[in-house]
Subunit: 491 residues, 2 copies
């Protein structure tokens, strides 16, 4: 009983994660029931006979989640069936000329050579990526036609029937997958990259908020999470994350904390991106995507985003360090570091938005320039000798974090370049100017207030008042106010 | 014509990369020709009829590269066919009780519900990993049996024939794949992890060699490559890489240079490891692997190795920096840094060897301890104030490299722990002591001599004499000698 309940729960989770899965399941059921009922009708049965089952088989095997995968498999199957059918008839004809004893031997040799050769070609990386299924069906059809031809004599008729039923099955899959709630692999790839960029911006803006506070409040670890909440409200994710802050439900809080580690999914996104791009190449033009949309450019962009995620992963391990650098120096470094993380985070966020909306990135350059100038003022600061009195050991994690951040800014610039290339190749539109406030700004007005939370060593009451999010300018003097009352030893 | 030649070249490359691919192709051809000839024999044809084609189909679809994948697919297919066959007969019986008009409607509903439900279950991550193919065949068989049953009446006979032919096809695949040159996914996973460890050790030993020299010779970039060659001869790769050093063939040199970036393949190995582990779970005991070998532990180990590769990737970008730290300080830091990279590299190499030979890692602890103590002496050195006069900006890349190296040593320790867990779970043997010299030491005697090479700014003649590789001890005073003649402005 418990097991059943668990399965139902898992089912709900899977459906919630992507509701299109439910729709897809219904679509498969529909097409299969439709094609099976073809089989019932006497006239159709009379013309195709048992061969009608090939239509059922084609539907089951070809109908994939996305239009691109379905089209790719369908076209592969039809082309391979046609080609192998022709060759199979030829092989059968050749074998039949060699007499009753020679025929089976010659056919076996044909099947052997064809299967071995095709199986080997399936190992070619370029073939494997796009035509693997084609070759599988080629081997299958050739063997079936040449062998069963040995029995039935009416090879031509068999081939004809097999091909027409495969086309019927394939066509119904393709039509349903395109016209009933289509799932476009291209759109998915596009959204994946935009969301990956967003995940990185999320992290960088989180650092910014931590930096804005860690020099004021001593217990960094305890409050980092709540300060990041503010960042979320800044970044437009506010409502979703703030609603349950009042809860003492630690499980819930833990779950949300994990959301900040979202960037980790970017680290292993390569194979997913590649298969989506392969599917997308099969898809016809849809929505804002033309038939020959520059999908290759998406892979290049994805690679750069992943490179940036590697740096963020390294940076993350240093942020969890307890840095022992004196507050004095921290205060001095704070301003440029904050600007660096804020501006790179904003640039990422903008790029994610511009990719999502398919508009040319406009203000990103400004953010990257700002980040660069913040880098410069940081290096000037470092050159001015403020680190002279710091113990070298204490410097290590600080300087490592700084150099990783500089790396991230360099990569942000590269990502922007790659996005520009994509924008011109895919003919993104120019951004339409909207009234003053960007949409994500409105949610920044939310006021977050937090109850006392138990920390591992001492307790804080933190009240964060987010006034209106007008710190979209270079934020030399941002207007966020923070009050913190430390009630040591109470509760 | 050019196209054909290119395909032949690609074919050669694919075959050379893994010769088992050629064997596999022959195996597929053989089984297929064998099963097809079943079809020719009158007695077999009489009992199975057209249904014999299911055997052919099963072979084409089920025969995969590794034993695990073939077994998994074969078992999935047979089980699903049995189960769906039973259900299909039940559905047919139920529908036939509802009269001539009700029957097709009821059958269509059954097919719809079954297909939609199974398709949805295929999205469950755990099901997708191991039983995806099972569900596909389940949908297919159920639809075919319940629908064709509507026509033929002899449903039981059909089901019986289909199941026996599927079993014949599946069994011949499994038998051939196990007994003729088997490719074990478990063995592949095992070797993959060992080679990943080796790639990392490769890189770390390369750093060691660079460090051994970059403080003597000014033009680091130009000689790094050749010095790494020495490292290779140390690490046992010597012969392969040294043979063509005398050539001026820059293409060849470039190609080899790329081999040093081998560690990059570790970054994206996750999906490969996961699918191999999934296949390996299906495999029976073979060689040194029991049936329930702890494959899960391999995934944990692989994850740690990947984490280490991320750090190495970050470190690599700093190594290409032109560091401007004064030679004086470099000289002071050189000894602990060299020891750190050497010892961690050796630990990796040892772990790779111990994994490869399935022996308990014995001397790794020593290497890790040595690396740790080198870390300590480095921190003492840093604390002694030698960096006081260095410009902070120049410190950044130096300290970042140091902290990443420390990170790598921490991860090496974690990898060792994980390897110990694996060794006890998989019952690795204790290491058998061999006569004094380890096998990789013998190739270290090779003498590498290099002709003048054109550099971007000036030219060097480098002669590296590798005497006997006895620097396996903690190498306070290693016996490598290097002569370097800088002929500025010549050549």
């Amino acid at each position: 009983m418990e097991k059943v309940r668990e399965i139902v729960r898992e089912g709900r989770r899977v459906a919630k994660e992507d509701p299109r899965r439910v729709v897809h399941s219904f679509k498969v059921g529909l097409v299969l029931a439709l094609v099976s009922s073809f089989y019932y009708y006497q006239p159709l049965y009379d013309s195709f006979g048992v061969n009608a089952m090939w239509a059922v088989m084609t539907v089951v095997v070809v109908f994939e989640f996305s239009v691109g995968a379905t089209l790719g498999k369908g076209l592969n199957r039809v082309a391979a069936t046609l080609f192998a059918g022709g060759l199979g008839i030829g092989a059968h004809h050749l074998a039949s000329m060699s007499g009753a004893t020679g025929e089976p031997i010659l056919l076996a040799i044909f099947v052997f050579v064809q299967a071995a050769l095709s199986t080997f070609v399936r190992f070619f990386p370029r073939v494997k990526a796009r035509y693997d299924y084609s070759l599988l069906i080629f081997i299958l059809t050739f063997a079936l036609i040449s062998v069963s031809g040995f029995r039935e004599e009416q090879v031509l008729m068999l081939t004809h029937k097999r091909i027409s039923t495969v086309i019927i099955g394939g066509l119904s899959c393709v039509l349903i997958s395109i016209f009933v709630c289509p799932v476009w692999a291209g759109q998915d790839l596009h959204s994946l990259l935009a969301s990956n960029l967003e995940k990185l911006s999320f992290f960088l803006l989180g650092i910014y908020i931590s930096l804005s506070s860690c020099f004021i409040i001593s217990d960094l670890k305890c409050i980092t999470f709540f300060l990041r909440l503010v960042c979320l409200s800044l970044a437009g994710f506010g409502d979703k994350y703030c609603e349950a802050v009042g809860n003492d439900d630690t499980k819930e809080v833990d779950k949300r904390k994990n959301d900040f580690d979202n960037y980790k999914s970017v680290l292993n996104s390569k194979s997913n991106e590649e298969s989506l791009a392969n599917f997308a190449k099969w898809e016809p033009g849809h929505g804002q995507f033309r038939f020959r949309h520059p999908w290759k450019q998406y892979l290049a962009l994805g690679e750069l985003i992943r490179q940036c995620a590697y740096r963020i992963h390294a940076l993350n391990s240093y942020l969890n360090d307890d840095t022992k650098v004196s507050i004095d120096i921290k205060k001095k470094l704070r301003e440029p570091l904050r600007r660096m993380s804020l501006e790179s985070g904003k640039a990422m966020k903008e790029m994610s938005m511009s990719l999502k909306n398919m508009t040319k990135p406009s203000s990103c350059e400004l953010h990257v320039q700002n980040a660069r100038s913040a880098c410069k003022s940081l290096t000037n600061l470092l050159n001015s000798g403020i680190l002279k009195e710091v113990e070298p050991l204490e410097l290590i994690s600080l300087l490592t974090a700084i150099s990783l951040l500089i790396d991230i800014i360099n990569l942000t610039e590269k990502i922007l370049e790659s996005l520009h290339e994509l924008a011109s190749a895919a003919k993104f539109k120019n951004k339409i100017e909207r009234p003053n406030l960007l949409p994500e700004k409105t949610s920044a007005k939310s006021i977050v207030s937090v109850r006392p939370i138990k920390c591992h060593d001492d307790d804080h009451v933190i009240t964060i008042i987010e006034d209106d999010g007008n710190d979209d300018d270079t934020s030399k003097n941002d207007s966020r106010k923070m009050k913190e009352v430390s009630n040591h030893g109470e509760t």
